[in-house]
Subunit: 310 residues, 2 copies
């Protein structure tokens, strides 16, 4: 039997994804027809991106799963037309790339390399940064992305604490769950990394009140989700020196509007949603594995829990 | 018996080193007099820096060791007045700080964060870097500094190869010894890290011939020693695009003269000899341990092999 797999990502990504998916589906031993124009009633699996062409899932009467290419599913999780199982992407390439972005920007702030990049000719001013082991990092969110970032940061020498809604036990990381844990996690965070999903509970988790709990002069990295931050409160904290610098990869509106104050703030670095770019080769393997599992009656990977929104 | 320990570093470092050494010597159970003005004939141990006040060791007739605060000993190793055992500094703080500098600048070039630091308002150009595992790094020099850097880079995900004069066997690192190994190590080096000592054999190890062996567009990090590089050959390689960028911490003349072309080259980042700053607290423990060993008749740590110059 041939399985009909619809590619419902952005059309301009098809050239990259078509060969990657074709290879991965064949390697998984699946007999599939992969295309962008299958009649909805004949589609068995939907490879989905939130910025792609599909938003009404009702015509896909026999689709057995919606397999997202994105890690974040907040724009689809409340879609009332979606009755099929929804899987988010946890791509090894995305996961590792995200952790590398976090490690690179954490070290950039830790070492103060912006000063070197902008150093004036002849300026021989020597500053010695503390060692990484004297620079505590806190990660909000200890899912697969948070855990991978924590592991790389720990390997560099940073002491890492992590906060999550529910208690976790991860070797080498101080895990601080629940509301009390959040206060404690923020109080020691010389570098704060946001890797939470966007849910009603996490929206503006970084606001005037929580920013005030950070040690003065903290650095903030947000490769997670734009709505985690109250933008105005962050700008006030940057202006007062409470936060030394923020490096932000995600925003409430993307692309970040050219007149948003983040673009010109001297203590903000904007990266254009590149921290967690799904890599077609590794992502295609996850898609293929989930189709294989679905056909074999095995549990799907990275199935979204609609009640919690991720 | 009280041991007389002369501090022969730069006078302006005394305020930092005096408390650190006093604490470390006491913790090692040693009864010492630490000062900057002990008559040479009464000195038992010399805590030495190449830029300090001592260059003639002949008056120190009873000194049992010269304990350098610097990792590099090329300016003292050929001093004919030095007849005492010479130990170089291998400070945990220096070692870790150096590895953090290497990791930070390796990730800076890997991710291309200079583009983010200099990004114009509204520029949403998205580039996805390869994963670290697709970016081979080569370290020339597999001493304690090279090994520590290799370990941190491996933890981040970079495939690491290392070259050393003599064969080494280090888990997780491809070790390539001798002249043939050097060619192989350079051929795969998308990022090349120089952590060799400065000896007659290593001077201008990076020259027109060896630069041509690198893959086109390689990045170079030199936290090792200035004379390892033929400056003119490097500038030619940067101008031709053979080398994409060089981040240099050490130079033939320091401070790097304001008119040196490195300062204004668009593809060179100068850091002012900060990668391997000895940290007084950790360095003082190494000094104290060596005095304890000397007094107990145990082998000294980090004893310099004069024949090889390091």
């Amino acid at each position: 039997m041939t399985l009909n797999v619809l590619f419902a990502g952005r059309p301009e990504r098809w050239d990259e994804y078509e060969p990657a998916l074709t290879t991965a589906l064949a390697e998984a031993g699946l007999n599939t027809r992969l295309a962008t124009d299958i009649p909805p009633g004949e589609v068995d699996y939907i490879v989905y991106a939130p910025n792609g062409p599909v938003s009404d899932f009702r015509p896909f009467t026999r689709a057995r799963a919606v397999l997202s290419l994105w890690a974040g599913v907040e724009t689809i999780v409340d879609n009332p037309t979606l009755t099929q199982p929804l899987c988010r992407m946890v791509d090894e390439g995305l996961r590792l790339g995200m952790a590398e972005w976090v490690a690179g920007h954490a070290l950039r702030h830790h070492l103060g390399t912006d000063l070197d990049v902008r150093r004036a000719p002849g300026d021989w001013t020597q500053r010695t940064p503390p060692l990484a082991r004297e620079r505590p990092v806190t990660i909000l969110g200890l899912g697969e992305l948070g855990q991978t970032a924590a592991q790389i940061l720990t390997g560099i020498g940073f002491p890492v604490a992590g906060w999550s809604r529910t208690p976790k036990d991860i070797p080498g990381i101080t895990c601080l769950p629940g509301p009390d844990g959040l206060k404690q996690a923020l109080a020691s965070a010389q570098i704060l990394v946001l890797l939470l999903p966007d849910t009603p509970e996490t929206t503006t988790i970084l606001n005037a009140r929580t920013l005030a709990l950070l040690p003065r002069g903290a650095f903030i990295l947000n490769p997670g989700r734009g709505p985690l931050i109250d933008d105005d409160a962050l700008i006030a904290a940057l202006d007062s020196g409470q936060v030394a610098h923020a490096t932000l990869d995600v925003f409430r509106k993307e692309p970040l509007p050219e007149d948003h104050p983040f673009w010109r703030h001297p203590h903000v670095t904007v990266t254009p949603h590149i921290a967690a770019d799904t890599r077609p080769k590794t992502a295609a393997r996850v898609i293929a594995e989930n189709i294989r599992r679905s056909e074999a009656g095995e549990p799907l990977l990275h199935l979204v829990d609609r009640a919690h929104g991720y």
